[in-house]
Symmetry: C2
Subunit: 208 residues, 2 copies
């Protein structure tokens, strides 16, 4: 069993390694990674040994090799993870138009909405379908991840639809707890936590 | 020095305690909090002792008292943290219209944009000003936090404007590293990390 905190750290290591690769850095030590993340070097070594990743004693980890190994842990390179957005409103549109997910091999294939003015339109090159077509499109396109950007009042119904359609995982932005079969992972995102963290950093910076 | 990972956990404990209070739970043990977060009970006790929070031996922590103590760590109740959005596009609109930040005492006071079609309009009750007015409005309204939802190409310029206006912290959504004086905390958010984490959970669920 691997904890959510460990998975979060591995995703952040991957981001740091991508940045280091971009800067043409060839090796990195557990001390340097620890400083980038704000954890201890022991924590870095413990995380990597959980996944069987080892560096060379004394010279640290090879950046490109370590990045590729961590990417495989996240299923990168296996097949492109196709995603769909349910709720083509402000947040849904911003997520689809930002190309940030492409860098890890995720790709949007469809959007769904109930608003007749949006059905039949596109967000960039992504078609907006009616919610009635959700099951057919998810099956036809082999969509793995459903991103929910609908109002809280529709969240449970939409989650049920996604599960019936055979979705493999759900990213939920609606402020509502959803209940789905245990075999389908759900990750809920609450951006207000980022504001809390920033408030903490402001207070510590101003107390110094 | 308190690490980013510890601050993230404290924000998540606060969310869990808010949920428990809502369910009328009166006490909680470090084991129960550990299970909710996916960390060890030792980690919970270590985090709380970092901030001088102690429970009663044997009967755990009082939910309401612990929640209030952690809220104070995040500056809750001090004064409402006023925020502004720079870039009143899809993401900016979604952030302002979602009421999730109000629950921690944050409040949007203004939005700014360069698009003449948006200047003079409102997002809900929040006025959209021209970027030229940024310094005056931030000073007049005592705005503490600047949220950047502008294209990457404008991120550095906007960060400079916010710093000159006397902003106390920046939440950056644009995919660009920004350089600001060390005294002003910057927190960058990259939602693609949530997709990576979900992909990991899908793989582990499907391997069982
Ligand atoms: N987690 C966070 O931090 C965060 C941040 C911002 C917004 N949100 C939440 O994200 C959601 C979307 O926010 P928004 O600003 O984009 O809202 P929005 O009103 O702009 O968009 C919602 C869209 O969902 C569509 N819709 C409604 N019911 C539907 C259904 N049953 N099936 C398919 N589509 C449906 C609407 O037609 C609309 O296009 C809200 O729940 C909001 O609270 C969360
Ligand atoms: N971090 C993430 O996970 C994530 C997710 C989605 C979008 N984004 C990023 O957020 C940003 C906004 O995305 P969006 O979909 O809302 O884009 P958008 O084009 O809908 O909105 C951008 C807004 O910024 C305004 N603008 C441009 N230059 C400006 C300046 N100098 N000062 C003030 N306003 C200015 C535009 O007029 C527009 O209204 C982009 O950089 C995008 O890559 C990040």
């Amino acid at each position: 069993y691997i904890s959510m905190a460990t998975v979060s750290r591995m995703a952040t290591y991957l981001q740091c390694l991508t940045y280091l690769e971009h800067q043409h850095t060839s090796t990195v030590s557990s001390h340097e990674l620890a400083a980038l993340l704000g954890v201890t070097p022991e924590q870095v070594r413990q995380d990597f040994s959980t996944f069987g990743l080892v560096g060379k004693r004394g010279s640290g980890y090879d950046v490109v090799r370590l990045k590729t190994e961590i990417e495989l842990i996240f299923g990168r390179g296996v097949d492109r993870w196709k995603c769909c957005i349910v709720g083509a409103g402000s947040l849904g549109t911003a997520l689809v138009s930002s190309h940030m997910v492409q860098k890890w091999g995720f790709k949007y294939a469809a959007a769904f909405d109930t608003d007749p003015r949006k059905i039949g339109t596109h967000i960039g090159r992504i078609p907006v379908y009616a919610v009635e077509d959700l099951k057919d499109v998810i099956r036809r396109e082999h969509i793995a991840i459903g991103v929910m950007t609908v109002p809280a009042s529709s969240a449970r119904k939409v989650a049920d639809l996604l599960c019936e359609a055979g979705i493999r995982g759900i990213l939920n932005f609606a402020p509502r707890v959803i209940k789905v079969p245990a075999s389908i992972p759900v990750l809920s995102v609450d951006l207000s936590q980022e504001f809390l963290k920033l408030a903490f950093y402001i207070q510590s910076a101003e107390q110094r």
